[in-house]
């Protein structure tokens, strides 16, 4: 019995349960969420210290401090964004896991074959862009720490240029995360369509 020729699905005797990314989603959304919740306030507090340094700046030492703090504020802020976007992505994977496991268990309880959608292209795009976004922001954060450590030994102009380039990479990392999230949610739409058709078949 074909569900719909347009879908690529597997047929089993029982529910396939969670796949590996979905298991990861179940385990990792909470630690990523916790990381984000801690990093944003740290960035905010550091920014207040930096603002006070700039307001009272009276010499080159203060300018160096402000430059160092500027890189640290960006680093902690984007640890926050890395964490919260990862948590969103893992929570979406967790929802997809609920559909896969729950849909399989309902078919199993009715008896007969269990039809499960194979991972669609949109889900692969979701994971790919999530990983690329995570790496882009992660590397930028590390380089912000490197630049902060370089203040005092590097020329201030180089420190500023690093900041400008890293800002572009950080922003692009966020865009990749958001692009991946759109595809992750699009996969839920596809799964809902597949399951609605399958439920109709079960009733018959």
């Amino acid at each position: 019995m074909a569900t719909n020729t347009e879908f690529n699905y597997e047929v089993t005797d029982d529910s396939p349960g969670y796949n590996r990314p979905q298991t990861m989603g179940n385990r990792l959304w909470a630690p990523m969420f916790a990381m984000a919740i801690m990093a944003f306030p740290v960035a905010l507090v550091l920014s207040w210290v930096r603002a006070s340094t700039i307001a009272d700046a009276a010499g080159p030492v203060d300018i160096e401090d402000a430059a160092r703090l500027g890189h640290l504020v960006a680093a902690f802020g984007f640890i926050g964004f890395l964490g919260v976007f990862a948590a969103i992505s893992f929570a979406i994977a967790r929802i997809l896991g609920r559909f896969r496991k729950g849909g399989g268990e309902i078919q199993e309880s009715v008896g007969g074959d269990v039809h499960t959608l194979r991972m669609p292209v949109t889900a692969k795009v979701f994971m790919l862009f999530m990983m690329m976004g995570m790496m882009t922001i992660g590397v930028s954060v590390v380089l912000h720490f490197v630049a902060a450590a370089g203040v005092g030994t590097w020329e201030l102009e180089s420190v500023a240029r690093w900041g400008e380039v890293l800002e572009g990479f950080r922003r692009f990392g966020v865009a990749m995360y958001l692009f991946g999230i759109a595809f992750g949610l699009g996969t839920i739409t596809q799964v809902l369509r597949f399951q609605t058709i399958r439920v109709g078949q079960l009733a018959r």
């Binding site: 719909n4 959304w29 969420f33 984000a36 944003f40 306030p41 960035a43 905010l44 920014s47 207040w48 930096r50 603002a51 700039i54 307001a55 700046a57 500027g70 504020v73 802020g77 919260v84 976007f85 969103i88 929570a91 979406i92 967790r94 929802i95 896991g97 609920r98 496991k101 729950g102 849909g103 268990e105 309902i106 309880s109 009715v110 400008e164 380039v165 800002e167 572009g168 990479f169 922003r171 692009f172 966020v174 865009a175 958001l178 692009f179 759109a182 595809f183 949610l185 699009g186 839920i188 739409t189 596809q190 809902l192 369509r193 609605t196 058709i197 439920v199 109709g200 009733a203 018959r204």
Partner: protein, 310 residues
């Protein structure tokens, strides 16, 4: 008003559940446009950092263009979420028909009030419970928030071009403050719109699950609002408030004439507005987690109906 926006999230009569979602396709195209806008600003930033003549002009317009790209991506996510809502209603209809055919006849049990399940505390009532106030609010507010948010992001992009034009003569401070304040208020509203759409999904799951059980003549089991859902609302409100406060503070900063004072204000207002977005995004995480938990509860309930008829 609520009905008009709510109608956008429900299938129209005659819509076929087997046909692929248009919302999803348009959402993917919009997401690609947003990604490309961000790619343009990445290239511009690299070029500006290697240029001896650029004194901040590129940083100004690329800021506006990046936020426009982010806004477009968030609008795309909103559109895909509308597609999910439409699909959820198709699913409710299909599951109702399937359960009516598959459920063994076991009579109508008496509702037991509040009961404990492995997914948390839930109520058992004779009739499907109505929407909670937060659900009604979500159904009313998602559209205005997305529309106003995107308009502000576009207005902010135009302001960033003004900011860019004033960099050379050093009078850019007011335009810079207005750009950042307006665009991040828009970003906050877009994320609030997405949050309201997630709230609408939770409302649809509650309403759909309730009417399904009621139509089968069963005691209606509904999960009580979990802690994650309460925290979601708290984070969303806090994030939206920070987004509004940062806008007011940027307007105040626009009138500062001393460059050193303006730099000091900018140094903390940037992370402050990002803190606001972080709160809204944290709320979105918890909304998604709540949706996952409600789905697990509902799959378990449907399985119970099919196997026991109760």
């Amino acid at each position: 008003m609520t009905t008009r926006f709510d109608a956008l999230t429900r299938p129209k009569s005659g819509d076929d559940h087997r046909v692929s979602s248009k919302h999803r396709s348009i959402g993917f195209v919009l997401a690609f446009v947003g990604l490309m806008l961000a790619a343009v600003t990445l290239i511009a930033n690299i070029a500006a950092a290697n240029s001896d003549t650029d004194t901040g002009t590129t940083a100004a317009w690329s800021f506006g263009l990046t936020v426009l790209g982010f806004g477009t991506l968030k609008l795309a996510i909103g559109l895909v979420l509308v597609g999910i809502l439409v699909r959820l209603w198709f699913r409710v209809t299909a599951v109702k028909e399937a359960c009516a055919n598959l459920k063994p006849d076991a009579g109508a049990p008496e509702p037991r009030g509040t009961i404990q399940t492995e997914f948390g505390e839930c109520t058992e009532t004779a009739e499907a419970p109505g929407p909670l106030p937060i659900h009604r609010m979500a159904r009313t507010m998602w559209f205005p928030m997305l529309a106003m948010g995107y308009m502000l992001v576009v207005v902010g992009f135009v302001l960033s071009l003004v900011w860019s034009g004033k960099v050379e003569d050093g009078t850019q401070q007011a335009a810079q403050a207005w750009t950042q304040g307006v665009q991040f208020l828009g970003e906050g509203m877009l994320l609030a719109g997405i949050s309201f759409l997630l709230g609408s999904i939770l409302a649809a799951l509650r309403e759909g699950g309730g009417t399904l059980q009621q139509s089968l003549g069963l005691a209606v089991r509904t999960l009580k609002m979990p802690k994650t859902a309460k925290l979601f609302v708290g984070f969303m409100v806090a994030g939206l408030m920070v987004s509004m406060v940062q806008f007011v503070l940027y307007i105040a900063a626009a009138s500062i004439t001393n460059p050193q004072s303006f730099a000091a204000w900018s140094a903390w207002l940037g992370p402050f507005r990002e803190f606001g977005l972080g709160l809204l995004l944290a709320g979105i995480v918890l909304a998604l987690v709540t949706i996952g938990n409600v789905l697990a509860f509902q799959f378990s309930r449907v399985r119970e109906i099919i196997t026991t008829g109760k």
